[in-house]
Amino acid sequence: MKKHRLLAGMLAVLLMLASFTVIACGDDDEESSDSGADTAAEDTSSSAIKSNADNKGVTVTIGSKNFTEQKVLGEIYAQGLEAAGYTVQKELNLGDEKIALKSLEGGEISAYPEYTGTALGSFFGVASNKIPKDPAKAYEQAKAEFAKKDLTALPPTPFTSSNEVGLTGDKAEELGVTKISDLSDKASDLTLYGSPECRQREDCLLGLQRVYGLKFKKFTPVDIALRHEVLDKGQADLSIVFTTDPQIKRNGYVLLEDDKGMFPPYNSMLVVRNDVVEEAGPDMPKVVGQVQEGLTDEVIQELNARVDLDKKTPEQVAGEYLSESGLVE
C-alpha cells in the first residue's frame, strides 16, 4: 500500500511538472501562431529547429512530384518537420501534378510542394497570359483557389523555378534565335520534346501554340528525367527544361527569352490539407517558413546539382542543406 501511495505521489509531481512545462512552452507557441513572418523574426537568436514533444502524436505524410527538385523539397520539408518532433512519413515521387493533387485530396498524403504557376494553370484553368506576373499576387490567387478545396497553401519559397524552352548552344547559333517568338517561322521544321503532362498544360505546349502561335513539326512526350538527354543526343531540337536545372550551365544550353510573358511565376509553396493544418498546430507553418527561408535561386540550383551531377540521394542532399544552414544539428 505504501509503495502505491509513493508511486502515486511521484506521478502527481511528474504530471504537475509536465503541465507547467507545457503551459510555459505553450505560451511561446500561441504567440507564434499568427504568420510565418512573425515567427522567423522571433527566432533570429537560434535558427535551429526545436523539437516539440507535443507534435509526436501528429502524423504528416509528405508527398512530392517526380523530378529532382520536387524530391529534394519533399525531403527538406519531411526532415524539417521531423526535427520539430512530428511523426513524418514520405510518399515522394508520386507522378505529375494531377496525380499529386489527387493523392492530396484523397488523403493519401498530407502535403506536397506545388508551384504557383502550375497550380493556377493546371488545376484552376487560368490562361497562362492571365496569370499575374507578380509572384506575390500569383501566390495570393493560388492560395484563394486552394482554400476552396479545403487546402492551405503556405507562404512560398524565395526561389522561382520556371519552365523554359531550351536548346543546345550549337543549335541556337545555327538557328540564330534568342527569343521564343524568333521561332515563329522556324517551328514547322523543329521537334519539341517535353514531359507528358506538357501536352495538356497552358504553361507548356498549349501556351506555346496559343500565345506564340507556334506549330511544331512534332511534339514528343518523354519522361521528365530525359529532358536534357534528348538535347544532348540530338533527338530534340527544343526541349522544355527548368531554369533551376544544373545541366543548363554545365552543358551550355540556351534558354529562349519569354518575350510574350507566357510563363508564369513558379514559386514553390507547401500545400497542406486543412485537417492536417489544424491538427499540426502552429509549429508546422513555423518550421516550413524556417526551412524555406534559405531556398534562394542559387541554393536550390546547388541542391539540384548535388543530386543530378554529384549523384547524391535527395535524402542526403536535404540533410546537408538543413545542417549547413544550421537548421538541424
Binding site: G125, R199, V222, V230, Q235
Partner: protein
C-alpha cells in the same frame, strides 16, 4: 458499413470502372484543356504499338529463323541456341529498354533494336530445336533421293519444323507486345502512354489502355495459335505428344510450344 456490404460496393465500383473504361475506349473524352483522348486517339496509339511490334518481329524473324534453321541443320551451336533463351529470359525487359535509352537515347530505331534483342531468343531456340527433332530417317531418305543440303532444309526440314517455329514466333510476339507497353519511356507513344504517362487520360484512360493491351496480347496468341495449327502437317498433329516429349527430354525443356 459491414464487411459484406463493403465487398458488394467494391465489386460494383470495380465493375463501374470497367464500364467507364470501355466507354473511354470506344467513345473517347475531351479533356478540360480541349485535347481529345480515347476513342479514335486510341487507334493512333494502337497503330504505333503495332508498328513497333511488326518492325521488331520482322527483323527478329529475319535474323533468327534462318540462323536457327541453319544451326539445326548443321547440328552445330546447339549450346548457344539453347542458352540464348535462358539468358534472354533472365534479362528484364525494363532493364533492356532503360539500357538502350541510357546508352543510345530515345527514338523508334533504338527501341526497335531493344525489342529485336528481346524477340530473337525464343525464335532462335525453337527454330533450332524444331529442325533437330525432325526424324533423321526422313532426312536420310530425302538425301537418298538426291536433294542437296538447302533443298533438304526447304522441302523437308522446314515444313516439319514450321509448327514449332510458329510457336516461337507466337511467344516472341506476345512478349514484344507486352514490352512495347513501356516504349513511351523512350518517346514512342504506344498503348503504354496512358499507363506510363497517365496525365490527361486519368485512371479511366489508364484502365482502358490496360484492357486494350491485354486484348491485343490475347488476340495475337489466339491468331498465331490458329496459324500454328494450320501449318502443322496432319501426321505431326497426331504424334505431337510423343514428339514434344522426346524433344523435351533431349533439349531440357527449353523449347516452348
Amino acid at each position: 458499413m459491414d464487411q459484406g456490404a463493403r465487398h458488394v460496393t467494391t465489386t460494383f465500383a470495380f465493375l463501374g470502372q470497367f464500364g467507364d473504361a470501355f466507354e473511354f475506349i470506344f467513345k473517347g473524352q475531351t479533356t478540360r484543356e480541349g485535347t481529345e483522348v480515347g476513342g479514335s486517339q486510341f487507334l493512333e496509339l494502337t497503330w504505333e504499338h503495332l508498328k513497333l511490334t511488326f518492325a521488331a518481329m520482322a527483323v527478329a524473324c529475319a535474323i533468327a529463323v534462318p540462323l536457327g534453321l541453319w544451326l539445326g541443320h548443321m547440328r552445330k551451336g546447339g549450346f548457344l541456341a539453347i542458352s540464348v533463351s535462358n539468358v534472354g529470359r533472365a534479362v528484364p525487359s525494363l532493364a533492356l529498354i532503360a539500357l538502350f535509352v541510357a546508352f543510345l537515347g530515345t527514338g523508334f530505331a533504338n527501341v526497335t533494336l531493344a525489342l529485336v534483342l528481346l524477340a530473337v531468343p525464343p525464335i532462335l531456340t525453337n527454330a533450332y530445336v524444331a529442325v533437330t527433332q525432325v526424324d533423321p530417317d526422313t532426312v536420310d531418305a530425302a538425301q537418298g533421293m538426291g536433294m542437296t543440303g538447302p533443298e533438304v532444309v526447304r522441302k523437308v526440314e522446314l515444313p516439319l519444323a514450321l509448327p514449332l517455329i510458329f510457336g516461337g514466333i507466337k511467344t516472341s510476339m506476345v512478349n514484344v507486345i507486352a514490352t512495347a507497353t513501356i516504349a513511351p519511356l523512350a518517346g514512342i507513344n504506344t498503348l503504354g502512354d496512358p499507363i506510363i504517362n497517365v496525365s490527361g487520360y486519368g485512371d479511366t484512360g489508364r484502365l482502358a489502355a490496360a484492357i486494350c493491351v491485354a486484348a491485343l496480347a490475347v488476340f495475337t496468341e489466339l491468331a498465331l495459335g490458329t496459324v500454328q495449327r494450320a501449318v502443322t502437317p496432319e501426321g505431326l498433329k497426331l504424334s505431337t505428344d510423343s514428339a514434344s516429349r522426346r524433344m523435351r527430354l533431349r533439349f531440357g525443356r527449353e523449347a516452348t510450344t
